[in-house]
């Protein structure tokens, strides 16, 4: 049996190797045994069925592939939050015309400010954020119609 996952931009199909045995440890980590080689892989479970895995200081977030592609891909003409954080300013209103690279909103997380700029000239068709809102990484903040 195989399962399908997304990891960043990669799509993966994962099948269990019959030569490998695995055991779940009390911490949730998984011990992977292949012949004489035993590796303990750190495993945790995130939101929406995500599986988080760590090994040797590297980490991966695997998202169940089914139905997720459309949800995670940025809609063209929309500006999404580049990180989880607080909306500090929204500089535009619905119906306003904007130039390319014009600042539309400012976000803050942990003393880092990120300015969201218009990717092209156009008209603001929707604003989904207000100053003080806490938004998740990837949330759509402003939608634009190309001029």
């Amino acid at each position: 049996m195989s399962t399908k996952w997304l990891c960043g931009e990669q799509e993966l199909e994962v099948t269990r190797d019959p030569a490998v045995t695995t055991r779940t440890l009390p911490s949730g980590d998984i011990e992977v045994r292949h012949g004489d080689t035993v590796t303990v892989v750190a495993v945790a479970y995130g939101e929406r069925g995500d599986i988080l895995i760590g090994l040797d200081g590297r980490t991966w977030r695997f998202q169940p592939a089914q139905g997720r592609r459309a949800a995670t891909r940025q809609k063209s003409g929309s500006l999404s939050a580049p990180m989880t954080g607080i909306v500090r300013a929204v500089h535009v209103v619905v119906g306003q015309s904007v130039e390319a690279y014009q600042p539309l909103a400012v976000m803050e997380a942990m003393k880092v400010m990120a300015t969201l700029e218009a990717p092209f000239a156009g008209t603001v068709s929707a604003v989904h954020a207000a100053p003080g809102d806490r938004v998740e990484h990837g949330a759509v903040l402003v939608e634009l119609e190309k001029a």
């Binding site: 994962v14 949730g28 750190a42 590297r58 990484h137």
Partner: protein, 199 residues
Amino acid sequence: MTETITGTDLVGWQLTVAAGGALPLSQSEIVSRGHAIEARVYAEDPATGFLPSLGVLRRWQEPNGPGVRVDSGYTQGMEVPPYYDPMLAKVIGSGPDRSAALARLDQALAGFVVLGVQTNIEYLRALLADEAFVAGQLHTGFLAERFTGWKPAQEIPEVVLQALAAAHPLRRVEGVAASAAGGSATGGWHTTDGWRIGA
């Protein structure tokens, strides 16, 4: 690092002096031994220009062992909030010389498990493996010169995929959600995964 190579407890001394006590040692009595190097583990994503990465620490296990010291303010289940600095921990490796200290720091970083937020650990390990860094050829333009455009490795090790295949998608770690809600202010008090007092 100073404490590590001089065998002192500087914060303890500050408290002693503040309470009216005398410094336990004079400058001439302080001897440096060996080498120490510190790395700061941050909740930020090197692949996106070091933007902060927030979330709940679903798995958190600090490294330990000889020549390794970790100073941190987090435990498993706590949330990394948007209001403060993204530093998670300071990891110090020490040994008789620089190469031993570097090796211990690298080993410690490899064994530091942080799941739930993106960290700079892989980037730090890439730095420690850089030959100019190892040779001590450092200058203020070092990162710009050698690490501009650095990206994490793309290939996923086979053991990781086998662990993924074995992981149960419906499993929920009990207690994590509860500790996340109140964890920021209460530290380890709400974690329910083997945290014991007086054990």
